[in-house]
Amino acid sequence: MNKRFDFSALMQSKVTWAVIAEVLILLVCFAIRPDFFSISYQPSTGMLYGSLIDIVNRSAEITIISMGMTLVIALGGTDLSVGALVAVSGAIALKFLRWDVLTYTTPGDYTVYPYFLVLIVPLVVCALMGLFNGFLVAKGGIQPIIATLILMVCGRGVAQILTDGKQFTTGYSPFRVIGQGSFLYLPMPIIITIIVVVAVALFTRKTAFGAFVESVGVNASASRLSGIKAGTVILIVFMITGLLSGISGLIYSSRIMSNDSNNAGLNFEMDAILAVVIGGTNMAGGKFSLAGTVVGSLIIRTIVTFVYYFGIVSEATMAFKALIIAVVIVLQSEPVREYFARRARRREALAGGDAR
């Protein structure tokens, strides 16, 4: 029971470095603007406000998607279609809210089809599209990056067709709650994110599913010969990712109360992959860390917020983001972690010597 705190193992963990990076970025923010950490309560909306709340709130879409992406990457694949599915999800929701724009010409606080259809149909369609990805990978033996490229390219087209290339807007207030409402003083997207993260964590770690995913990711052939139905595992993982993209799409379109087939979820696949990688899950597959992914997603959003907050010209946002991510990734690289772990071991050895 008396297990010693293993400092060198901690220094070798990629998650540790992700947390350190996040804290450093936040400290820089704090140094520049001491009110960066302040959180205030707005009685009129019943919500807490502040930069930190905003970072978590705005990271919701990526965090939710990257929960699925973590599993896909743990299998040794990638899912490029998630951004397009965000657009599909929003398009379907708006389609059901404003079914026939010629009849319902002005947006307002109404929905044409029952609200549950507005929510359920996008999620079901996205889950099916995820299943389609999974089918290509599991049964067709197609590399995930290629298989998901199909929906990445045609997903936005599907969204365009569904809405006749138009951008619908809506004023339906229950729909507004998803992206702009609050619960327990917190913005609704944060609540949804927490539910999703907990659900995925329970599903993977309280059942043996996570172990099966890791096993298939490390060695698919050996896993199959150990009785794991690798195909089923792949199908489930891609379906989960599709479903989560759908949830993310609902949040996104509720924030803007509109569908935007061109820009909704744009580059989300890249952000999600980055979040997973920063979180310490290896692109080659195998062991995955959901907690690390959450931190990774927060880092990405913190950088963006930082850029907005300090008025760095928006043209420079991408370059700035890339710069910080490059630093984080280098800090996490094998030689650097090895170096710090060695130093930590040496220090521990010295400390041990003193004690004696």
């Binding site: 099966f212 096993s215 050996a222 010969l225 009785g227 139905k229």
Partner: protein
Amino acid sequence: MNILEMKGITIQFPGVKALDNVNFSLRAGEIHSLLGENGAGKSTLIKCLTGVNNMDAGKILLEGQEIRPSSPREAIELGISTVFQEVNLCPNLSVAENIFVGRQPMKRGQIDWNAINTRAAELMSRFHLDIDVTRPLSFYSTAIQQMTSIARAVDIQAKILILDEPTSSLDENEVQLLFEVMRDLKANGMGIIFITHFLDQIYAVSDRMTILRNGHLVGTYSIDELSKVELVTKMVGKDMDVIFNLKRADVAPDAPVMLKAEHIGDAEHIRDISLTLKKGELIGFAGLLGSGRTETAEMLFGADRIVRGEIQLDGAKLSLTQPFDAIQARIAFCPEDRKRDGIIGDLSIRENIMLAVQSRKGFMSPMTRQEQTDLANKYIALLGIATPDCEKKAGELSGGNQQKVILARWMAAEPKVLILDEPTRGIDIGAKAEIQRLMLEMCGFGVSVIFISSELDEIIRCSNRIIIMRDREKVAEVEGVSCTQQDILKIIAEGAA
């Protein structure tokens, strides 16, 4: 003259001394066998010479000059080439590209493909191999792949060639071919370090041998100085009789039939095969590589699709479409290629062991962490897996211990039928005997075992009955007690009597 001299090599790993003051010398034009059980320090010594591991003490002299290679690349530049047990080449590149990768001859700023292909063909013909060197490496057998890595070593004019278990996946003819090449290189003054677990091969080809045990040097002997029995005794540190005191499984004549296959066949390899396996019986499969042994085993496990015939387990008809079905029916299969189909390297020993049990239960009824740990620790103790704890990555274990982990995975699944495909390949003699002992113990508990091996002596020693395969057909079935190695070889060579 000594081309290589290693003096007082000491390597400290966390918690253990992997090598303790080991001396080793190699003459030019000599084949020198390096021997020891798994974990004795052979690999560590080689890794130290090839710049993978750093020494904590000692020095290496190459042709009298002190060297200290710090990376495999540096070692290669110094003229030390290694051919590993698992072929370390790019299967999707051609044979010629593999030989010249990283140092392609150039002509006018472009790669000179003609030169590459002609020189590669010349090299391979030196090894009496007349093959198309522009074909991808994966097109050829493991033997040819191995020759390719040797050809690479020869072409960079290595002074020292290290062959780490090169023969473990070769058949008899291929081994002879390799030996010819080795003698040829030796005649040209190359020093060859040869690591193998096959005692016969050591005596067939080496000049001297050095034995390690638990990181210590036991001694260096010339080949006619030690008999096989003395050699094994020195390697293991115990008496040989104790190890080989194995008793064949005791099967009552009226034991019930456990597994019955009638005229089964698959789509491409096997036409028609039948066998019966009694409860607690051990059947050996003998035959050359590619004779259909593995395919038959895979059919019985649902890994290879059966298109004809019928399998009965315990009297009930069994339909197998995937390994999952076989595991549900409590048939277990230890595959031939440990690295590709067996061990899941990045996962812990615990996860590797619990996998088959868990997949039988399905992922919705997970074992708790405590149950997994208990299960793993039970088998670590039972099989004597050498590891500090069950959380170590399985990929970091030695070959014999990995094999034991896979065996543990299947023992934990409590099978009725256990199929073992070359379970003792590439592992040392002590571990080999232990795996044979475990196999026979399982029979004692009423498990029926199918044992596939290329080594006839172990097949004969363990089997109740032996099925002999040739050209993807069963050609004979003989009693284990009454047959000799000669009988089986004759049937393999000439077909059924």
